[in-house]
């Protein structure tokens, strides 16, 4: 128990180091992705290098944005909505 | 004697014994003054009647469609008033249901009825005799005699030992039923005039003209539709059920309503088959209306007895639907459903009676959070409620399932119309169960300021009564052939009769 807590607290103290580590990981993923030959295209644009990285990033931003917007516009209600 | 009748050698005239035993018991009760003694006498007489009816089950020939255990004595030949009694597959199960439920009625009224116990026992035993008499009579005059004979004891039962609005309920019950009986009398008179005989087996042999059949059908339908009760002639039932004492409610729901179904099968289908075929669509529509509207009315109830009363309307709607599908499967299913309804609704009324003895209220709001206080009761109540809405494994499921299958066979829209009734039944039963078992812990609910309740859970007598009924719920649910075997031959011959009747 204590190992994890200490690890996490140490990581939280070194926030910038974490970000750099994350950046390095992403960079490594990008490099590997560029060097490997892409698989046969199943989606349009599949053959482009780093397609899946863009898909991940844009998909995440798009999905989160659209869902939040729809929920905010149409779906959100008070928690005791059904009690009336 | 015609070949359709069969006298079996049991050794004693079992049906006469079944009718006379309660009568004798009622007579004997007139001399017993002390309340405990007369209660034990009632138990003894009803158990004796039950014992005397067991040979009906064991010695019944399941392959013969005709009447069995027949006794024939000429009383007034000039007035065509013979004493003929007998049972076929349809009536034997109803007689057995009656003899089963009566001892339970006596036992469940042990603590509930404290005033005029002697009169109560007399009325109850007279009622039993009349009920058995209705199911076993094979002479239409005798039938009418017993039919009317059951009115007064039941009126007294509601009027003397009932709830606050008992006068209103008993008078309403009496007026409705009596008005229907007038129509029945008219129909019976017409039958006699046209066929010249009062004996049911002989009437069944004689074909009647179509116009006469239609007239007989309409009159009989009015009478039996009031009894069943079929929508829209059902409105006497909630009042009567709510105000009657527990024994009265059990008899009303368990046995009396079956007289309507029995009447449809014996009179409308038996004596007027061609007219029945013509009028069947109308009756099926009324039945579907009863199923759906009865269910919807039950959904809005706060009074437990009214809820079960409206559920009875819905269940008997299933029975009438099964009868007027005019197929062998549908009719067998409806007879089975009659037995099931008698057992499960009788059990529910007994449970409500037990609740009322403790909480003195029938409202759902006053009977909540009992799960922790009365675990045995709540378990048995749950089983009975599951049987009522037809959960698989219980008897109710088999009956409703077979009726829905028969309805789908006839026309898929009939089946589709009946299925929501099952769902509505689940909804109101579960809602009631949920409120009874668990407390309503929410910020919006303010429980009444009452001192903490200490109820005793149900004791040996009450557990015993419910266990008997639960036993049958599970037995019929897993092995419905115990009932279906008895009814098969008679129902098939009736179905053939209706199918073959010319216009």
């Amino acid at each position: 128990m204590n190992i994890f807590v200490r690890l996490i607290e140490r990581a939280q103290q070194r926030g910038s180091l974490l970000k750099k580590l994350f950046g390095v990981c992403l960079g490594g993923i990008v490099c590997v992705g560029l060097t490997l030959p892409p698989e046969a295209g199943h989606l349009p644009g599949d053959h482009l290098p780093l397609f899946w990285s863009c898909f991940g990033l844009l998909g995440c931003l798009g999905l989160a944005g659209v869902c939040k917007w729809i929920a905010g516009m149409f779906l959100e209600r008070d928690t005791d909505y059904y009690d009336h | 004697m015609t070949p359709s009748l069969l006298l079996q050698g049991i050794g004693y005239p079992v049906l006469s014994v079944l009718v006379c035993l309660p009568l004798a018991g009622a007579g004997l009760a007139l001399f017993v003054r002390s309340a405990p003694a007369v209660r034990w006498l009632a138990v003894a007489v009803t158990l004796l009647t039950l014992g005397a009816s067991l040979p009906l089950y064991s010695s019944f020939d399941r392959t013969l469609p005709g009447f069995q255990f027949v006794e024939h004595r000429a009383w007034l030949p000039a007035a065509q008033f013979d004493y003929i009694v007998g049972v076929d597959g349809i009536s034997v199960v109803l007689v057995l249901l009656t003899t089963l439920l009566m001892p339970l009625c006596v036992l469940c009224s042990w603590r509930e009825v404290q005033e005029r116990v002697q009169e109560f026992v007399v009325v109850l035993l007279l009622l039993e005799a009349a009920l058995i008499g209705v199911f076993v009579s094979l002479n239409i005059v005798l039938f009418y005699l017993f039919w009317e004979g059951m009115l007064i004891p039941l009126y007294l039962l509601i009027a003397l030992w009932g709830g606050p609005a008992r006068n209103y309920a008993s008078v309403k019950f009496f007026l409705y039923t009596f008005a229907g009986s007038i129509f029945l009398l008219f129909a019976l008179l017409m039958l006699y005039v046209a066929a010249g005989s009062c004996s049911m087996p002989e009437l069944l042999q004689q074909p009647l003209s179509y116009e006469l059949q239609m007239l007989v059908f309409i009159c009989c339908t009015v009478a039996f539709a009031v009894k069943t009760p079929l929508y829209p002639l059902h409105t006497w039932l909630p009042a009567a059920h709510v105000e009657a004492p527990t024994a009265g409610s059990v008899i009303l729901a368990g046995i009396l309503l079956k007289m309507g179904g029995y009447g449809f099968l014996r009179f409308c289908l038996g004596f007027a088959p061609a007219a029945t075929r013509e009028a069947a669509p109308v009756m099926m529509v009324c039945a579907l209306a009863a199923i759906l509207i009865g269910g919807l009315l039950a959904l809005g109830q706060q009074d437990l007895k009214r809820l079960v009363a409206y559920s009875s309307v819905a269940h008997m709607g299933f029975v009438v639907l099964g009868i007027f599908l005019l197929s062998s499967r549908g009719m067998q299913a409806s007879v089975l459903q009659m037995i099931n309804h008698g057992i499960s609704t009788g059990a529910l009324f007994i449970c409500i009676g037990m609740l009322y003895e403790r909480t003195h209220s029938r409202l759902l709001a006053d009977n909540s959070a009992l799960g922790a206080l009365m675990p045995r009761f709540v378990t048995l109540l749950t089983l009975c409620a599951f049987s009522s809405f037809g959960f698989p494994g219980t008897n109710g499921f088999i009956g409703e399932f077979l009726i829905i299958v028969a309805a789908f066979e006839k026309k898929w829209i009939l089946g589709a119309g009946a299925v929501p009734g099952v769902l509505i039944a689940a909804a109101y039963m579960l809602r009631a169960l949920q409120k009874i078992i668990w407390a309503d812990r929410s910020p919006h609910h303010h429980p009444r300021e009452t001192p903490p309740r200490m109820f005793s859970d149900i004791g040996l007598r009450e557990v015993g009564i419910l266990l008997v009924l639960v036993f049958f719920i599970i037995l019929i649910g897993l092995q419905p052939s115990v009932v279906l075997d008895l009814t098969r031959a008679s129902v098939e011959s009736l179905a053939n009769r209706v199918a073959g009747a010319g216009r």
Binding site: I8, S53, L57, L63, A64 | T235, I404, V405
Partner: protein, 591 residues
Amino acid sequence: MTTELLVSHPSIPFVVGALLMWFVRTVRLRQAVLVAVPLVALMQLSHLPDTAGTFTYLGLALQPLRVDSLSFLFLHVFCIMALIGFVYSLHVLNPGTHGAALLYVAGSLGVTLSGDYVTLFVFWELMAVASTFLIWLQPTRTARDAGLRYFLVHSAGGLALLCGIILRYLETGDLAVVQVVPATAGLADYLIMAGFMLNAAVPPLHAWLADAYPEATITGAVFLCAFTTKTAVYALCRVFPGFDVLAVWGACMALYGVCYAIVENNSRRILSYHIISQVGYMVCGIGIGTDLGVSGACAHAYAHIIYKALLFMGVGCVLEMTGRQKLTELGGLYRSMPWALVFTVIGGISISGFPLTSGFVSKSMVTAAAAEAHCSGILLLLMLASVGTFLSVGIKLPYCIWFREPVEKAPLQTRQAPWNMYLAMAIAGFFCFFIGCSPDWLYRLLPRHAAYHPYTASHVSETLQLLGFTGLGFYLLARKLAPHDTLQLDLDWVYRRAAAVLQHWCRARAQQYDEKLGELYATRGLHHFMGVARRCATYDIERIDRFVDGIAQQVAGCGERIRNFHNGKIQHYIGAAMMLLFLVLGIIVYF
């Protein structure tokens, strides 16, 4: 044959266990029973016969035990899941919860083993009732109401299934549970499919899941998440593989669940929507119908049961220790419950499909099947759902519960969670990695042979790219994705509003109408009847009575006058007598 059935059917130990819960009073003994029962079932699995014959009941041919590779896979994972679930709930003292869970698993195993529709239906209903009690045993009003809705929805689904079974029996006379060819499917088959789809929580029949699962007991939810939906997936897999409509629907379902999960606040509700999403993958694979698709669906079901249970267990741990499940009320818990964090993160990366976890080897089979079948649209939806899954449950859920600073400044009151919860989570976590690291162990069990190798360099690279940049996206959007304490309307709005209206109408209008109908006899009938009676009485008194009284009075008057004749004078008597004699003689002569 019956003894063979009783000995070999894995549901029997569970039913016996449920009965024992009723009778056994000591806690230790109950706990021993809870652990022993799934172990007994696992032992039975190694000796299962292919079939235990057919029975006849009510003229129908029933086959309660039928095993092949498809059902064996599901039986396997159900028994393992039962063991994990019971270890997780060892600390619960209420025997009712244990009894309900045991019956629930028994029902699920019974459905998986049934060879005919009647047995299937019986066990289907058993599952519905037992699972309802897992919700009802939570002592809050919202749980009671949710449980009632849950049962009614499942009853409706069961009725649809029953109608389909009846129609199928009437049309074909056959009750065996066999595959239906899409070209020959009729109304009966679609009704049966609808019944299965409701249990699988396929939209629009899905709202019950997100409504009921967050309200269940902590240990009950762990069972609920595993059995109802996956049993339905098994049923769909058995009967309806290759239906194109399922492929499209499944893909939409995968995205639908994820979209709701992104905006939800209640942690168990988020996980419930993820069930819908992941079952979407399975339904999609079944719909594609190729060997790879069906195998992928089965593998995904296997893996999903375990990692979803792990997620529910982790979040349940938080609920047990803090009493809260809303993200807005939680935060900064890494200090007090780091192990729950670890296990939830394991579950999170499994569901997202990180390499070396079970999700990677199973979910990718379904996407590969979609790619192989050249369904670009479906593939797009599935990959987008993967993005959303990682975003929502891989990153957002652990972040909000464990890392983010809590909204309230006061530290949360936490209790210590019992050791058995951690043990259960450890077992599930082990399986997540074990399946991920040696996928052949799972692939061996799959019903159809499909050559698939998940660990190719390009596949690993693709997955890491996808997930890594999703993480980047979260980092950029972290503030926008903060949870709000709101309710999100779903399709249950339709029937909840309808039910409220119906309830109000039944209570108010229907009752009034019926009362008016009931009083017709008094207002119309009796009223007129009494009027006629009064008129008759009046006629009786005024006319008839008076007439009769009048005659009586006249007669009395006559008598009075005749009396006055007697004046004592004999000549008057003789005169009267003579006149009478002449009158009589005259009449005789005349006639």
